[in-house]
Amino acid sequence: MQHSTWIRRAWIVPLLLSTAVAPPIAQAVPSFARQTGMACEACHTVFPELTHFGRLFKANGYTLDNLKQVRDIDATKQEMLSLSSLPPISAMIQISETWLNSPLPDGTGGTGHSQTSTVGFPQQLSLFYAGKVAPHVGAMVQLTYASDAGTIGIDNTDVRFANSMVLPQATSLIYGISLNNNPTLSDLWNSTPAWGFPYANSDAVVSPLAGTQIDGALAQDVAGLTAYVMWNESLYGEVGAYRSAKQGVLNPITGGAGPLDGTVSNVIDGAAPYARVAYEYQWGRSDLEVGMYGATFKLFPGGGSTAAPASLSGPVNQFKDIAEDFQYQYIADEHLFSLTGTRIHESMQLDASFAAGAVTNPKDDLTTTRLIGTYYYRRKFGGSISHFSTTGSVDTGLYPAGPAPGVITSANGSPDTRGWILEANYLPWLNTKLSLQYVTYSQFNGGNNNYDGFGRDASANGSTYLLLWLAF
């Protein structure tokens, strides 16, 4: 779980929660390999991108195994327990160094600047319980220490029930339920936000102001229940709903974990519906998926205090996110190639914030697109190139100018941000990755030169990121 620095200063723009560059995610789980006896390459091209089999393993609830089981039956010989003899535990560590193209102004307001590079040691350390829990029940639970928060917290979590049946003409139907804490976390493809590229990125960079809600803004702050079916390993459908489940938030009156009240920002009104449909077609070594996903979030701005009360009733801000995605994979022994893309369009109806004078428009929109090409030679050497873009309505309340020293502000009230990510990877072993990533912006928070009104250019926020990523 990662929180960008600007989120801590959320009083500037209470509506905005996410980043145009997806937050760092982490998913490489050797306990699945231990459980199945299969090598990483069965489920991944190169971790964490899934192969077709990896998608089936996930859809089947992480339950496929070949470990010796501790069993119990009742008097009618019904199975009461089937527990793996070894717990599916894994760990993951990311150690990194990040160089911003131009150092940040010193936070004290002095004339100096911040340290020129940032070492994350570790940037992130995760423990996983990832594997079968019982017949038809599996889980991937991730506990993460993140250097930006400096604390240990719950990260991506997906608890599943899954089963399958054979239909006429020997076609298959997999069906299941997922309890998870991040919209699109339950998805099977790497073209959707939760498991999308970049698979790791620095937490010591400047993130853009704007991002859509489904694009990680609510990650780990919601609890969702989704139901899915996959017919003949090709047609996939999923529906569900997400409700706020904030971590580390106390009710000011009870001092306990809830109920949530107006002191908390961006609480979902009731439950937010989520839907996903995708079709995957395989031929030869190729595999093509096209699909759509979306959700509607009605959020109370909240964030109130005794000086400025707020409540979890009355008008809401509605975010309607509709997205298209595709993923093409070519997987051979020597050459592996994938091309993924998504376009997320968000329509905002900001009744609550407009009434409060926090935004200048009652309606705004935002569109994020990403296109990523990845190539690997023998799963050892490879890299990715990605273009990303977030554009939308000008709103000087939503994307405000100031205060000093700028950096995470917009002089013209535009969210427009565009850029490229170049990444080179070397994997001496399938569970060890050395990565060099370069991020460059041609536009940042609506501008190229002096985008923040305090003299900083978009290119200054580019970064070079060296990462050692170990999963074991």
Partner: protein
């Protein structure tokens, strides 16, 4: 398929593997095997052995003797092609002889079917190679061992059997042929047969075989 004997054959001849008798499969073993087949194997090999993904072989109607020999090869880690290591070494590790025989019996009893049709010209060339071989390239007719309809042969006790190829995925067949060529899958007979096979001819034979029904 009602196989009298399930013998380790084909590639397994050279591996010196043991065999199991199909008639030894009792109802309990059959039930246990079916449970594993449906709950585990089907993830890759599809419902009733009809795999959807061309990476994974169709098992429906496969010769039981061949399946047993391959499972032994995976468990003994003597079949060394990359997918065997990556997928099947782990999956076969906990299988005992009774379960292997049960699984082989289950898949051999499933009804095979033709795969997607391909380019008619390729199929014609593939059929010619399959039936007549190509003496100029030193390629014997495949059908001599795999049978005229590519249904494979069960063989007899102590003798070789040959796998069903009809209806198999083109991609899987081509990968196996290349594995035989390079000895990644170390089967002397097939190494000799496939050594001179050009890529275009592999494609032709595989396309022909995929198009064949039961």
């Amino acid at each position: 398929m009602k196989s009298r004997l399930v013998i380790s054959l084909g590639s397994a001849i050279l591996l010196g593997l043991s065999w199991a008798q199909a008639e030894d499969i009792d109802a309990a073993s059959r039930t246990a095997a079916e449970r594993v087949a449906v709950g585990t194997c089907a993830t890759c090999h599809g419902p009733q052995g009809h795999s959807y993904s061309p990476k994974f072989p169709v098992l429906a109607g496969q010769q039981a003797s061949y399946l047993v020999s391959q499972l032994h090869g995976f468990k003994a880690q003597t079949r060394g092609d990359a997918d065997a290591l990556g997928y099947m070494w782990g999956m076969a590790a906990p299988l005992d002889d009774a379960l292997m025989a049960g699984l082989a019996d289950y898949y051999s009893r499933q009804t095979p079917r033709a795969g997607p049709p391909g380019d008619p010209a390729l199929i014609a060339r593939g059929k010619d190679i399959y039936q007549n071989g190509d003496s100029a390239q030193g390629i014997p007719p495949c059908g001599a061992c795999h049978g005229p309809g590519a249904a494979g042969t069960a063989g007899a006790e102590g003798a070789g059997s040959f796998p069903r190829l009809a209806g198999q995925h083109v991609q899987y067949l081509m990968k196996q042929l290349r594995s035989f060529q390079t000895n990644m899958r170390n089967v002397a007979v097939m190494h000799g047969v496939a050594a001179g096979l050009q890529r275009a001819d592999m494609q032709a034979v595989a396309t022909y075989l995929q198009s064949l029904g039961p």
